[in-house]
């Protein structure tokens, strides 16, 4: 014991101070640890610096230093007039700015476009900020009310009837088609080998058509009566409002609990009435601007917003269909999704432009923009379906089992329990699809619609502004616009992703 103590050593004086550790933070630290810490790294740093030098410096020089800022025509942007190697020709953008933003939209009516964009921004911004309340109302306004208002603002025109006459018209078309099918079968039964069978089938279908005709007769009669009166729009509106309010009241639970549903539907109809009155829809509305005059950024935004708004319901329906256990619906959903996902968008646009008109009745012409919109909606819908399906798969079975244990029906389980969680899960994926949709809208320029890229390409053909740097200037301008939108959306999706995964961070 004692020799252990005697052999121990106790230091009597302080050690000399060691130098401070090498700094690993700040700019110097960054240089030391990540840029110049080894010969290879030094080489790589030089390589990176060279790459940046040869891309950034010429671009800045082109866009700012060597740029021409004012002028009347191409003469200002020619090197021999300016006296130096000319970079970007900004007067060309100034001259073409209205065309790039509005296309050939009449100058006197451009306030309508601006108003629509303003409305969109006012509705969209609160929707994007998670902290603000009333998301349901906001989403309803943006996804349902805004598209309708925007249509009447941008396109113009008024309405001749309302819900009642539209429903009656649709049902009548449906009925005529059924009767037509029955007649076709009856005529072909005279020549066919299985004539009697066809005759029976045809008579059954024709009978069905007649039954439907008499079932919807009160509706069509009421429609014709209302059209006869002077105030057709408002009478129709009042009748529709009364019927819809009654239905929501009964569905909402009658006298006991239906008050809330009744109040909200009455409020909706009052809002619709105000909009109709404000925009004078009952007296023809604003002057019509046909879609072949639309162009530029306006078309890009219209196509992408319509695609976003219409593709989501299609996607949700297809995703639910694909998860359904009912065989036919599942098979149809799978085939539909895989078909649209397997073909390029450009063939879809060709399909919508050249093939769709053949499938519609001869007297039924569809606007070129609407055709492209239909194609884009189906195409994007299939992609959204796969996104939504991912979200649905991420919801644990226990959620729907708990809902079933509470006695909720399939519809209530899906709409109240499963879908809200699933959609919240996949917001980043949905936003990423929207980014690719926004980029894909440029393809409509191939089917003779003038979106931002199409207008840009058209403006290159103007001899008044043809200079060596015109094309580069135009691409720089359009590129900045596209980049701002896409980059903004991708940052937003990252932000949402971080928010959703907040509990998983450590």
């Amino acid at each position: 014991m004692s020799d252990v103590i005697s052999s121990s050593f106790v230091r009597r004086d302080l050690l000399a101070e060691r130098p401070a550790p090498v700094k690993t933070t700040g700019f110097i630290g960054l240089m030391r640890t990540r840029l110049f810490n080894s010969p290879t790294n030094i080489l790589l740093t030089i390589l990176g610096a060279l790459l940046l030098w040869f891309t950034i410096v010429p671009s800045v020089k082109f866009l700012m230093v060597d740029a021409v800022w004012s002028g009347k025509d191409r003469a200002a942007c020619l090197a021999e007039n300016a006296g130096f190697a000319v970079g970007a020709c900004w007067p060309y953008i100034q001259a073409k700015f209205p065309q790039l933003i509005y296309g050939f939209y009449p100058e006197a009516e451009r306030w309508r476009v601006n108003l629509t964009l303003l409305l969109a921004a006012i509705l969209l911004l609160p929707l994007l900020i998670p902290r603000l309340p009333a998301k349901g109302l906001n989403a309803g306004l943006f996804f349902v009310a805004f598209p309708v208002v925007a249509f009447f603002l941008l396109h113009g025109g008024g309405i001749k009837g309302f819900g009642l006459s539209w429903t009656a018209g649709l049902l009548q078309l449906f009925d005529e088609s059924i009767v037509g099918a029955g007649q076709a079968l009856l005529t072909s039964s005279k020549t066919s080998a299985i004539g009697p069978l066809l005759w029976v089938l045809g008579s059954l279908i024709a009978l069905l058509g007649t039954v439907i005709h008499w079932l919807i007769f009160p509706l069509t009669w009421l429609r014709d009566y209302i059209q006869g009166t002077g105030q057709s729009v408002w009478t129709d509106f009042a009748v529709t409002a009364a019927i819809v309010c009654l239905i929501t009241f009964v569905l909402g639970g009658g006298v006991r609990t239906g008050g809330r549903a009744l109040a909200s539907s009455i409020a909706t109809f009052i809002a619709i009435a105000i909009v109709i009155k404000l925009m004078d829809l009952d007296h023809g509305g604003l002057p019509v601007v046909t879609t072949n005059l639309w162009g530029g950024l306006l078309v890009t935004l219209v196509v992408s917003v319509t695609g976003i708004v219409t593709s989501l319901p299609i996607g949700i329906a297809l995703a639910l269909g694909r998860r359904s256990t009912i065989p036919l619906i599942r098979i149809f959903s799978i085939a539909f999704i895989e078909f649209w996902r397997g073909v390029p968008l450009i063939t879809v646009l060709f399909f919508a432009t050249y093939m769709l008109p053949l499938f519609l009745p001869g007297n039924f012409t569809v606007d070129g923009l609407v055709r492209a919109l239909i194609g884009i909606a189906l195409f994007t819908g299939a992609y959204q379906a796969e996104n939504v399906r991912g979200g649905l798969a991420a919801i644990p079975r226990g959620q729907s089992e708990a809902a079933a244990a509470l006695g909720l029906s399939w519809w209530k389980t899906t709409s109240l329990i499963v879908l809200p969680q699933a959609l919240r899960h996949v917001i980043p994926n949905l936003v990423n699809s929207f980014i690719s949709l926004f980029k894909d809208t440029s393809l409509v320029s191939i089917v003779a619609l003038f979106d931002l890229l199409g207008s840009l390409r058209a403006s290159f053909a103007d001899p008044k502004w043809s200079t060596p740097s015109t094309a580069f200037t135009g691409f720089a301008f359009a590129g900045i616009i596209y980049f701002m939108f896409c980059f903004g959306m991708s940052r937003y999706s990252l932000f949402v992703e971080h928010r959703l995964n907040a509990h998983r961070r450590n």
């Binding site: 790294n41 397997g342 053949l358 094309a471």
Partner: protein, 401 residues
């Protein structure tokens, strides 16, 4: 005394109900009937309307038009084609052009994508920022925008053939495209190709043999010297015996254009450049995610077993990363193939451009032509997804074992 477990009752009615209507039972059957009726109605409407419309426009339905003469020229053909050939041949020409630009695009996209991914993963701060800027800029601009940019701005700004940019005096870049030397087959071509094919097959066999030896007997066989000999020394020896397999015909500037060599049209160059740079940005992200998905502990475990850094990467990290990388990578290849249809915007004669574009406007057979075009792309993507599901099945099997 053992008792047999009782068989469950057959419950045939329940099973039929389940097959016909899923979980929803007879309700499901009713829903299906309603759905089938609606689908049938839509189908009837489409067929009857299409028939009436075609009659009005005096267009005969059917694929008979494929045997008619096309009567227009195509500026890039891989097989011989003249204006007097049929529309069927136009279809094949367009399909081959689509495939060639896709293959070239896929090759360069993979190379650029892997390089950018390595840049992004590099410990060098500046280089990883450069990679990030590349990915962000390219991904946030539409592909059509980039194709038009290369075609209308960059390639149009190149000098004319007389002042073309020379690459070591072999290839020439001008606004009329890229002119490269064209190979001309000589007498030694056939033996050379035969030996090359033999070398490839033999090295593959050797590779499989070495793998089997490694997995079954734990025996490490060094095969690279013999592979090198098979792939390079043997063809070289054939060249010495039989003479050169092919010679190159160099392009010469004559008058206003080049004579000799083969010209790659500017549309092809623009499309290939845009497709490969665009897809490379997505591939870079996929590769980066794949490599980051391998846990750090795997690398550490490898080095604690005494494997060298290269061996750890080759044997442990890359195989695991590939499992994550391959499915989305295939998806990107498929996307590139589908995106090559944007060729129609700059007039590169791909399937959509010559068949769904020019042929459609000449014949008016919209239904047949668009169905054929969509069918081709659909077939390609369904084949790819079938191959991918086989791959997924093999991966899951190897993980389970």
């Amino acid at each position: 005394m053992t008792t047999e477990a009782r068989k469950p009752p057959p419950q045939i009615a329940l099973k039929i109900r389940r097959i016909l209507g899923g979980k929803a039972g007879w309700n499901g059957v009713a829903v299906q009937f309603a759905f089938a009726a609606i689908l049938g109605w839509i189908g009837y409407e489409i067929v009857s309307n299409a028939r009436a419309n075609l009659e009005n426009q005096h267009i005969a339905a059917g694929f008979g038009f494929l045997r008619n003469n096309a009567g227009f020229d195509v500026n890039q053909t891989l097989i011989s084609y003249t204006g007097s050939d049929t529309f069927l041949r136009v279809f094949v020409v367009g399909l081959l052009n689509t495939l060639i630009v896709s293959v070239v695009g896929i090759f360069f996209a993979t190379v650029i994508g892997f390089i950018v991914a390595l840049c992004r993963l590099s410990p060098n701060w500046l280089l990883s920022r450069v990679g990030e800027i590349y990915v962000e800029v390219i991904r946030n601009l539409p592909l059509l925008f980039q194709i038009l940019f290369w075609y209308l701005a960059v390639l149009a700004a190149l000098p004319n053939p007389r002042q073309s940019i020379s690459v070591f005096g072999i290839a020439f870049i001008s606004n009329r495209g890229l002119v490269v030397p064209s190979p001309i087959g000589q007498s030694g071509l056939a033996p050379f190709l035969a030996v090359l094919a033999f070398g490839i097959v033999a090295s593959l066999a050797l590779h499989f043999y070495a793998r089997r030896a490694l997995f079954q007997r734990g025996q490490v066989i060094r095969i690279w010297p013999s592979v090198l000999a098979l792939l390079f020394a043997l063809p070289l020896a054939t060249m010495l015996v039989f003479g050169l397999p092919f010679t190159f015909e160099l392009p010469q500037l004559r008058g206003f254009n080049f004579a000799g060599g083969s010209r790659i049209i500017p549309e092809f160059v623009a499309l290939a450049v845009a497709l490969s740079t665009y897809t490379a940005a997505f591939i870079a992200e996929i590769v980066r995610a794949g490599i980051l998905s391998v846990h750090k502990g795997q690398m550490e475990a490898g080095s604690s077993l005494g494997l060298s850094r290269g061996a750890t990467l080759r044997l442990i990290v890359v195989p695991q990363a590939m499992r994550v990388i391959v499915p989305p990578l295939t998806n990107q290849y498929l996307n590139l193939t589908k995106n090559s249809s944007l060729a129609v915007a700059i007039g590169y004669p791909d399937l959509v451009s010559v068949f769904a574009g020019t042929s459609l406007s000449q014949t008016g057979q919209a239904i047949e032509i668009i169905a054929m075009t969509m069918g081709v792309y659909l077939l390609i993507s369904l084949l790819t997804s079938a191959i991918m599901s086989v791959y997924g099945w093999r991966v899951s099997r190897s993980l389970g074992a």
